[in-house]
Subunit: 400 residues, 2 copies
């Protein structure tokens, strides 16, 4: 299949591009390197030293004997995006090319507006480009489980049957997103649903949980293929961040009581879920939603697991509770369905001791690269303007 990976230089996108390339698909990556520039803006870097994209692709070509094309540009630039779609003629377009950090979107007004305009415009452009040039192409869009928030009822996969005053309908599941970033994904979901309805496009909206893990089989094949591993307060997801903290002997920073429960999945399951979606495309006119995670954990549970893994390496790590910088329930009901990908063949990697050991080892290996000043939360949801340390006064690194 001809598969376009938008945002293919990022954490999930890079792993996905290699995985699908190895399985024989023809892959082209679209990226504008915005993710690398946000590191520069914030004065942080991935724990693992990543190579320039062209070098990564060169190594992959030599190692796997497979070429991956790269198209460097911005999905908010329609002339660029449409020329790529016209030239590559994708059968599937996997859309990772968005600003994906909740804290980044909460820094200030400028970052909030940037996140929503960037993400909404990019997705609208992609919808119009597919409508115009490639209407049969399957859009696989990365959404987030954070779109749902934490309702006091079971979370279904995208839609819910509601009985009300003696009548019944199946309606989009109500959304209660918890940051301007999460809101941007909700906006996207509504736009995609509408485009499928009016134009007959086919889409799969993957409401992904929090991804953990450093490597896939492919990224582990060569040091030059290494994936990014973020541990900072803005882009670091919680489990990776805890591992980096443990490797340094830094206390694990639990926000609030730590009863915040979310869906999680291994990066190796992310790439497999994408493959499953691509191999089982949505029907024309269908906007299908899969909840893409494998296990639920509370933040405090995860901290305990990392503490135990560290202890096996002879390290005693504390768990500290910080005032929650976010506005969220610190204890709540959470039961989210996630059977559709399992029904299509996903065999999950459960979060195991060995994965935690390997994450800890990665963190230990690169511990001299950790900047502890980047770990403590400095972006407060309740504030309209956050100064981000070295980034104070810095403006959004625009995409172009």
């Amino acid at each position: 299949m001809r598969i376009l990976v938008l945002g293919g230089d990022g954490y999930c996108g890079w792993a996905t591009a290699l995985y699908l390339s190895r399985r024989g698909h023809e892959i082209a990556i679209v990226d504008n390197f915005a993710r690398r520039r946000w590191d520069e803006e914030l004065g942080v870097q991935t724990l693992t030293p990543i190579r320039p994209l062209s070098e990564r692709l060169q190594i992959w070509r030599e190692l796997a004997g497979r070429a991956i094309a790269q198209h460097i540009g911005d999905v908010t630039d329609y002339a660029f995006l449409s020329s790529v779609i016209r030239g590559f003629e994708p059968d599937a377009a996997i859309h990772f090319a968005e600003q994906r950090s909740a804290p980044y979107s909460m820094i200030d007004r400028e970052h909030a507006v940037f996140t929503q305009v960037n993400n909404v415009t990019g997705t609208l452009n992609l919808l119009f480009a597919l409508r115009e040039l490639r209407p049969g192409c399957h859009l696989v869009k990365l959404g987030t489980m954070g779109e749902y928030g934490t309702p006091n009822i079971d979370i279904e996969e995208g839609y819910i049957a509601i009985e009300h005053n003696g009548r019944r309908d199946v309606l989009p599941f109500p959304k209660q997103p918890g940051s301007f970033y999460h809101l941007s994904k909700v906006h996207d979901s509504h736009n995609i649903m509408f485009a499928c309805k009016i134009w007959g496009l086919r889409a799969t909206d993957l409401n992904q949980g929090v991804v953990y893990g450093a490597a896939t089989e492919e990224t582990a094949m060569h040091e030059g293929l290494i994936n990014r591993f973020d541990y900072d307060e803005v882009f670091g997801t919680v489990l990776n961040r805890f591992c980096a903290q443990a490797a340094l002997g830094h206390p694990l920073t639990v926000y609030g009581r730590g009863g915040q429960t979310r869906g999680f999945l291994d990066l190796r399951d992310t790439v497999r879920c994408i493959e499953i979606a691509v191999e089982n495309p949505a029907a024309a006119g269908e906007c299908r939603v899969f909840n893409q995670f494998t296990e639920q954990f509370s933040v405090l549970q995860l901290a305990g697991m990392v503490q135990a893994a560290a202890r096996k390496l002879g390290m005693e790590v504390e768990i500290t509770h910080l005032p929650d910088p976010r506005v969220e329930a610190e204890e709540h009901y959470y039961n989210a369905k996630h059977s559709r990908l399992l029904d299509l063949g996903l065999q999950p990697h459960a979060l195991s001791d060995s994965l935690l050991d390997s994450l800890m080892n990665t963190a230990m290996e690169y511990r001299e690269r950790v900047d502890t000043a980047a770990i403590m939360p400095r972006v407060e949801w309740r504030s309209g303007t956050n100064r981000r340390g070295r980034a104070a006064g810095a403006t959004v690194m625009a995409n172009r």
Copy 2:
């Protein structure tokens, strides 16, 4: 009260500004005249000749003895908007300042992106400005009944209690908007709900039905205060458009079967609803939703009523059914609740023969200004690129 009317030069905004000014409130208008420029872009004009804003305000000052301030600029320009909020210190901010036409948003990619970026950015800016400068100010935001779409269950006011698998929660009512414009209002609603939650802002989201009518008591006081009256396919709402068609002896153009049922209200009720919202502000942290309409009609019912009103004036007008340019159900269940404004004292103007007579008379009076070429629908939802006659090749009239 000190009340800021954003978009105060438009159809609802102008009537609201005068109404509240006459009742003793101190009013300031913010407008960038985008609405007037969209007429120029599309090559159409309001049926009623409207004066420049400064002239309108001069007449109002002389007639009513009350000054209304004007601030000319764009709400997407934060420096401008925040300087207005800082200087005027509003107790309530009524936000009409958005692109409000569904067909305009469906012209092509450029108009879709413009509508969403413009509306979402303006509302985000307003939320941040209130957070920073005037957190106690009550935001009264114009949404639309079109956010809900046409679900097969009763439509509640913003939120719905859902029982699911033995558990219960009150959640945002699921949204199924029918155009990129309607989607922009859904995006706004989610953003506002979140801002109230994290910052304790107070907001009333008015999901307004389709407004009809040409005049309020205030706009009728002087010819120079006349309100705009749009009849074209892009900005003309259905009842006003039917009256203009009838005045010309033009067939009433019903899209599809005409069973599309919506909530409607008289412009005189719009201004009173706004007053009720302002006088009964939301609590700090509350995002309250009122469904702002008074009666439900199907499009075919309205056509029949206009046909009858025309007959009284001795005119025989046909009703024609055109293929529906929109993607929408042409027959459907529709029962939307709208008790909250009634509970707070709204006494609705029902759509009466006399109102229809007066609308017909307005249309007759200015019939020589009608451009029949502007009436027939040329924006097709199913097309990704619509050429708008004289506007072909024209680009969005940017706000700045």
